[in-house]
C-alpha cells in the first residue's frame, strides 16, 4: 500500500503547490492592477484616509480637507473642501467620497494623496519615524484676479459661457472659467441626505443648464467671426495676400462657389474689394469666405491644425478637440472659413489662436500645472513651457497683430480698449441651431501688449445669453468687456 500512498503524497503536494503558484500570480504578478483597480474601494479609502494635499493658486490653497465626523460606517476619514468652489471648479474638478474624482483632483491624485512613486522615499522615512502620511501640493499657473474677473463677468451676464486666458509667451493658463458652475464642496462627502441630493440636482437630466460641464475645455461652439483670424493667417502664410492693406479682389454680393447662394454680410457694411484690415475691422463675411474658398480646403485645414484644431489638448486636463471639417465641398469651405458650417472650437482653442498671434506666431502648449510639490514643499516636477507649433511667421504675425489692433481701436472691438496697453482682438457672433433659429453665441478673442513689447495675456470669451434681445447679442457688446476685465487684472497683477 505504500506505493499509492507516496503517489497520494505527491498529489497533495501538487495541490498545495498549485495554491502557492496561484497566490504568487495573484499577490505578485496581478497585485498592482488589482490594488489600483478603480472599482476597488480601497482606492477611495486611501484617497480620503489622510488630509489631501492642496491645489494652489497665487501661493494660497483653494482647497482644503476636513475630518469627517466619525459616524459608525463611514470608512473615509477626511472630506474635501473648496474655497470659492464654483469659481474654481473648472480648474480643480471635484474629489467626492461618493462620486469619485475628476480633472486635476483625479489626474494628480497620486501627488495629492501622497501615494505617488516620486514620494516613495519620503513616505518610507515618514513610516519609519511614525509620521502620518501627507499629500503633496499641485501649484497651478492660474491668476486669482483674472479668474475672478472672468467668473464674475460671466455671472453678471447670467447666461451660459466660458472664458480662458493664457500667457502667450509660455502657454500658462491664467483663467479658466465656466458659467453656470457648481460648488464641489456640496457633494464632497458621501451622505445620502445631503451629498447625493446635491449631486442629483447638478446632473444634466435634472438641470438643463448642465453646471458640471467644463465649458472652457469640454464644450465646442461655432467660433463665428473670431475664426476669421485663422483665415487671415492662412491667407498671409500662403501668400494669397502679403500685406494688411492690399485690396482684396472680392465682390459684393459674393456668391458661394458652385452655387447661386450669396454670402451675406451683417448690415450694410462696405466690403467690396476692401483690404484685409478693413474686412477684419468690420467683419466682412464675403471677404473671408472668398479667401477660404480661394485657398481651398487643404490649405485652410493645414493652418487650422497648426493652431491646434482637430486635436485634443492636455493641460493636463483633457480638452475636447476643436473641429475644422476635413470633408467638405467648396461652398462649405467658404462657410467654414468664417467659422460656420461644422467649424467648432473650445474657448481654450480660440485663446490659443489669439495667443499665437500675440506671441509673434509661435503657439505655446497650454498648461495649468506649474509645479508639483512634496509635502515638504520640495519641487517634484516643474513644467517647462513648450512650443506646440508655429502657425505664422514672425512677420505675418505682426501684420495680423496690426489688423487685430485696428479692430479694437476703431472696429467692432472698441469695448476692449485698455489705457496703457495695446489690445488686439476680434469679435464673433456665431449663429447656430436649425436655420439659425437659436440665439447666437457672442465671442471675443483678444490679447494685450504692454509698452515694452511683452504680451502677458490672451483671452477668449464666449457667452450665450438667453435673456438678451437677439439683436443686442454681439461679441463686442457682451464678451469684450469681460475680456477687457480679465486682461486688466493680469496687467495690474504684473505691474
Amino acid at each position: 500500500m505504500n506505493k499509492p500512498l507516496r503517489r497520494i503524497a505527491i498529489f497533495c503536494g501538487l495541490l498545495i503547490l498549485a495554491l502557492l503558484i496561484r497566490d504568487n500570480w495573484l499577490q505578485y504578478v496581478k497585485a498592482d492592477s488589482l490594488r489600483t483597480d478603480t472599482k476597488n474601494r480601497r482606492v477611495l479609502i486611501a484617497r480620503y484616509s489622510t488630509p489631501r494635499g492642496d491645489i494652489v493658486v497665487d501661493g494660497e490653497p483653494i482647497t482644503g480637507s476636513k475630518k469627517t465626523p466619525s459616524k459608525s460606517l463611514n470608512d473615509f476619514a477626511y472630506k474635501r473642501t473648496y474655497k470659492d468652489g464654483a469659481m474654481w471648479s473648472p480648474v480643480t474638478g471635484y474629489a467626492s467620497q461618493a462620486f469619485g474624482a475628476t480633472q486635476l483632483e483625479s489626474i494628480e491624485d497620486g501627488i495629492l494623496t501622497g501615494d505617488d512613486d516620486r514620494l516613495f522615499f519620503r513616505n518610507t522615512l515618514d513610516m519609519l519615524t511614525g509620521k502620518e502620511k501627507q499629500g503633496g501640493n499641485v501649484v497651478t499657473t492660474l491668476n486669482g484676479a483674472a479668474q475672478k474677473a472672468a467668473y464674475d463677468g460671466l455671472k453678471k451676464i447670467g447666461g451660459k459661457g466660458a472664458a480662458v486666458a493664457l500667457d502667450p509667451e509660455t502657454g500658462a493658463i491664467l483663467a479658466l472659467a465656466s458659467y453656470p458652475s457648481y460648488d464641489p464642496s456640496t457633494f464632497a462627502g458621501n451622505s445620502l441626505s445631503t451629498d447625493s441630493k446635491a449631486w442629483t440636482k447638478l446632473l444634466k437630466k435634472n438641470n438643463p443648464s448642465d453646471p458640471m460641464l467644463n465649458r472652457a475645455l469640454r464644450e465646442t461652439y461655432p467660433p463665428g467671426s473670431t475664426f476669421k483670424v485663422v483665415t487671415a493667417a492662412a491667407a498671409l502664410e500662403n501668400g494669397l495676400y502679403t500685406s494688411a492693406d492690399q485690396a482684396t479682389d472680392s465682390p459684393v454680393p459674393y456668391t458661394l462657389p458652385d452655387t447661386r447662394q450669396p454670402l451675406k454680410n451683417e448690415g450694410s457694411i462696405a466690403c467690396k474689394n476692401v483690404s484685409m484690415r478693413e474686412a477684419l475691422r468690420v467683419s466682412c463675411n464675403s471677404v473671408f469666405g472668398k479667401i477660404g474658398a480661394d485657398l481651398g480646403k487643404d490649405k485652410m485645414l493645414e493652418e487650422a491644425k497648426k493652431f491646434g484644431f482637430n486635436a485634443q489638448q492636455f493641460v493636463p486636463v483633457r480638452s475636447n478637440a476643436s473641429n475644422f471639417p476635413e470633408k467638405m465641398d467648396r461652398p462649405q469651405t467658404a462657410l467654414s472659413s468664417i467659422g460656420q458650417f461644422e467649424t467648432a472650437a473650445t474657448p481654450l482653442q480660440m485663446a490659443m489662436v489669439a495667443s499665437a498671434v500675440a506671441n509673434n506666431g509661435t503657439l505655446m502648449k497650454p498648461y495649468m500645472v506649474d509645479k508639483l510639490q512634496a509635502p515638504s514643499l520640495d519641487v517634484i516636477s516643474q513644467t517647462k513651457p513648450e512650443e506646440l507649433s508655429r502657425p505664422l511667421s514672425e512677420k505675418n504675425a505682426q501684420i495680423l497683430q496690426s489688423m487685430m489692433e485696428t479692430v479694437v481701436q476703431s472696429g467692432t472691438g472698441k469695448n476692449a480698449q485698455i489705457s496703457g496697453a495695446t489690445v488686439g482682438g476680434k469679435t464673433g457672433t456665431a449663429q447656430h441651431g436649425v436655420n439659425n433659429s437659436e440665439k447666437p453665441y457672442a465671442w471675443f478673442i483678444s490679447y494685450a501688449k504692454l509698452s515694452d513689447g511683452s504680451s502677458p495675456v490672451a483671452v477668449a470669451v464666449v457667452v450665450e445669453d438667453e435673456h438678451a434681445n437677439r439683436d443686442d447679442i454681439s461679441g463686442g457688446g457682451l464678451a469684450a468687456p469681460i475680456a477687457k476685465n480679465v486682461m486688466e487684472a493680469v496687467i495690474k497683477n504684473k505691474k
Binding site: 500512498l5 497533495c12 503536494g13 498549485a18 495573484l26
Partner: protein, 481 residues
C-alpha cells in the same frame, strides 16, 4: 505491513525495542511558539487599530496557552509516541484564526450586519470544545483499530449527517447552500463531521473488500477494468455526492466526499484504473449538475469572469450579486495585500462582508499578511497533510493506513477547494479553512480529526515491546573478561 485483520493481535512487527524517540519535548517547545506567535499577532492588531495593547491579551494568551497545554499533557499521557508536529501546527493555525476573527470583530461594517462583534470569544469556546473532543478521542480511543467495528454504523451515521440539512424544519438555507442544520440558536454544518465518519466507513469497508476490488478485474487497453459488481459501491458514493450537489447545492462537500473516496480506493486497491474512473465520474457529475443547477452556474460564471459579473451585479443587470461581489472583493483584498501585506488590522477585508470571517477568512490573511503570510499558512497546511501521509506510511495495519490517508487527503482537498475558491483558482464552494475560519462545527470536527491522526501516529511510532527473553540467547552470550 502487518497483515492482520484481527484486532486482538498485538505488535507482530520485527522492529526492535529501540523505537523512535517520543519527541514530546520537541512538541512542547513548538507549542510555545504556536502560542506565542498568535499572542504577538493579537497585540499587533490592537496596536494597529486602537494604538494600545488590547485589554484581553492576557486572558486570551492564557486561554490559548491553557488549551494547548491540556492538549500537550493529554498527548504526553495517552499518546506518548505521537507525531510531535500535528498538535503545534493545529494550535498555531487555530490561534492565528482567532486573531483574524478578533480583528474582524473590530469592524463596524461587519458589526452592522451582525457578522462580527463577539465572534472571537465564541470561537475560543468552540476551540475549547474542539480540544475537549480531541482529549476525548485520545482518552477513550486507546487503539484506532477499534473503529473498524463501527464500519456500517459509520456508514449509516454519515448518511444521516449528510442528509440532515434536507430535513424540513431542521435544515437552514444560508445564501443558497443548504449545508447547515439549526437547533435552537445553534447552527451546525454536519458535513464537517460526516467527513470523519465517512473516512472511518471507507477505511473499514475497503480494508475488507480491497482484495476483491483489486484482483478481480479484466485487463483492457492497459487498464484493469473493475468488475460490474465491484463498481457498485463507487456508483453509490458517486450517486450520493451528486445528490448532495443537487439537493444541498454544496459543491465543496460533494467534491471532498468523492475525492476522499477515490483516494482511499486507490490506496486500498493500488489500481490506477480507479482513479481514471473517479475522475471520469466526477467530471460527468459536475458537468451534468452544472448544466441545470442555477446556483452552481452562478458560481462558475462568477469564477470565470469575476469583474464582469461584479459590474453587472452592481449595475443591477443580473442578480447573483452575492457570489461575484464576494469573489471580486476577495481578489481585490489579495491584490491590495501584495507581497508583504498591509499589516495586521490595516487592511479592508471587511469589504467582503458577510462571510469575511468564515469562508473568506483567507482573504484577510492575504491582505494583511500578504503573499509571504499566505505562503507560510499554506505551508503549515502542507505540513499537516505531510505529517498525516507520513502517519499513513508508518502505520502498520491497513485500516490505520487507510484511515490516516483518508483523513489527511480530505484535509488537503478541503484546503485546496477553499483556498483555491477564495483565490479564484477554482469556482467558489461553501466550505471553511480548517482551524482559521469562524465556525464551531469546523473547529470541533478538525480537532477530532487531528486527535485521530495523533492516535494512529502514536500506534505507528510506538516501539514494539521487547522480545521475550530467549533462553537460547543466554548460551551465546559473550562473557566479558
Amino acid at each position: 505491513m502487518s497483515s492482520s485483520t484481527n484486532a486482538t493481535t498485538h505488535h507482530t512487527s520485527t522492529i526492535g525495542s529501540i523505537g523512535t524517540p517520543s519527541r514530546r519535548n520537541t512538541e512542547l517547545a513548538l507549542l510555545v511558539f504556536a502560542v506565542a506567535i498568535p499572542v504577538f499577532a493579537y497585540a499587533n492588531v490592537g496596536l494597529a487599530i486602537d494604538n494600545k495593547v488590547p485589554a484581553g491579551l492576557l486572558s486570551y494568551g492564557v486561554g490559548l496557552g491553557l488549551l494547548a497545554g491540556i492538549g500537550h499533557l493529554v498527548v504526553r499521557k495517552f499518546a506518548p509516541y505521537a507525531d510531535p508536529l500535528l498538535l503545534p501546527l493545529a494550535t498555531l493555525l487555530n490561534g492565528l484564526g482567532l486573531v483574524a476573527i478578533w480583528r474582524l470583530d473590530q469592524s463596524k461594517l461587519l458589526q452592522s450586519i451582525d457578522v462580527a462583534g463577539d465572534k472571537a470569544s465564541k470561537q475560543l469556546i468552540y476551540t475549547a470544545m474542539g480540544i475537549a473532543l480531541f482529549v476525548a478521542v485520545l482518552v477513550f480511543l486507546k487503539d484506532h483499530r477499534v473503529l473498524q467495528r463501527y464500519t456500517y454504523i459509520s456508514m449509516a451515521g454519515a448518511l444521516v449527517l449528510l442528509l440532515l440539512p434536507l430535513v424540513p424544519g431542521l435544515g437552514a438555507d444560508v445564501f443558497g447552500a443548504k449545508i447547515w442544520i439549526q437547533i435552537g440558536s445553534f447552527t451546525i454544518q454536519p458535513g464537517e463531521f460526516a467527513k470523519i465518519v465517512l473516512a472511518i466507513f471507507f477505511a473499514g469497508y475497503l480494508m475488507v473488500k480491497r482484495d476483491a476490488l483489486a484482483l478481480a478485474s479484466r485487463r483492457f487497453m492497459g487498464l484493469y477494468l473493475p468488475r460490474g459488481r465491484d463498481l457498485g459501491p463507487i456508483l453509490v458514493v458517486w450517486g450520493i455526492s451528486i445528490l448532495i450537489l443537487v439537493f444541498e447545492t454544496d459543491l465543496g462537500t460533494s467534491l471532498l466526499f468523492f475525492g476522499m473516496f477515490v483516494i482511499m480506493l486507490y490506496v486500498a486497491t493500488e489500481r490506477t484504473s480507479w482513479i481514471v474512473f473517479g475522475l471520469l465520474m466526477s467530471a460527468v457529475g459536475a458537468v451534468g449538475v452544472a448544466s441545470f443547477e442555477p446556483h452552481i452556474q452562478t458560481r462558475v460564471q462568477a469564477w470565470l469572469n469575476p469583474l464582469g459579473e461584479y459590474k453587472a451585479s452592481q449595475a443591477g443587470v443580473k442578480d447573483g450579486i452575492v457570489h461575484s461581489e464576494q469573489a471580486m472583493q476577495a481578489l481585490w483584498a489579495f491584490g491590495s495585500g501584495g507581497t508583504l501585506g498591509t499589516g495586521w488590522g490595516q487592511g479592508h477585508s471587511e469589504l467582503i462582508r458577510f462571510a469575511a470571517n468564515s469562508d473568506f477568512i483567507l482573504a484577510t490573511f492575504g491582505e494583511e499578511l500578504g503573499l509571504a503570510g499566505i505562503m507560510a499558512i499554506l505551508l503549515i497546511y502542507g505540513l499537516i497533510v505531510e505529517r498525516g501521509v507520513r502517519t499513513a506510511l508508518a502505520a502498520r495495519d491497513p485500516f490505520g493506513k487507510l484511515l490516516a490517508i483518508g483523513l489527511s487527503g480530505a484535509f488537503a482537498l478541503q484546503v485546496f477547494v477553499v483556498a483555491g475558491g477564495v483565490m479564484g483558482l477554482i469556482p467558489l464552494t461553501g466550505m471553511t479553512m480548517p482551524f482559521l475560519a469562524y465556525g464551531g462545527s469546523s473547529v470541533i470536527a478538525n480537532w477530532a480529526l487531528i486527535g485521530i491522526l495523533i492516535r494512529i501516529s502514536d500506534t505507528a511510532r510506538r516501539p514494539a515491546p521487547s522480545p521475550a527473553p530467549n533462553p537460547d540467547a543466554e548460551m551465546t552470550q559473550v562473557v566479558r573478561p
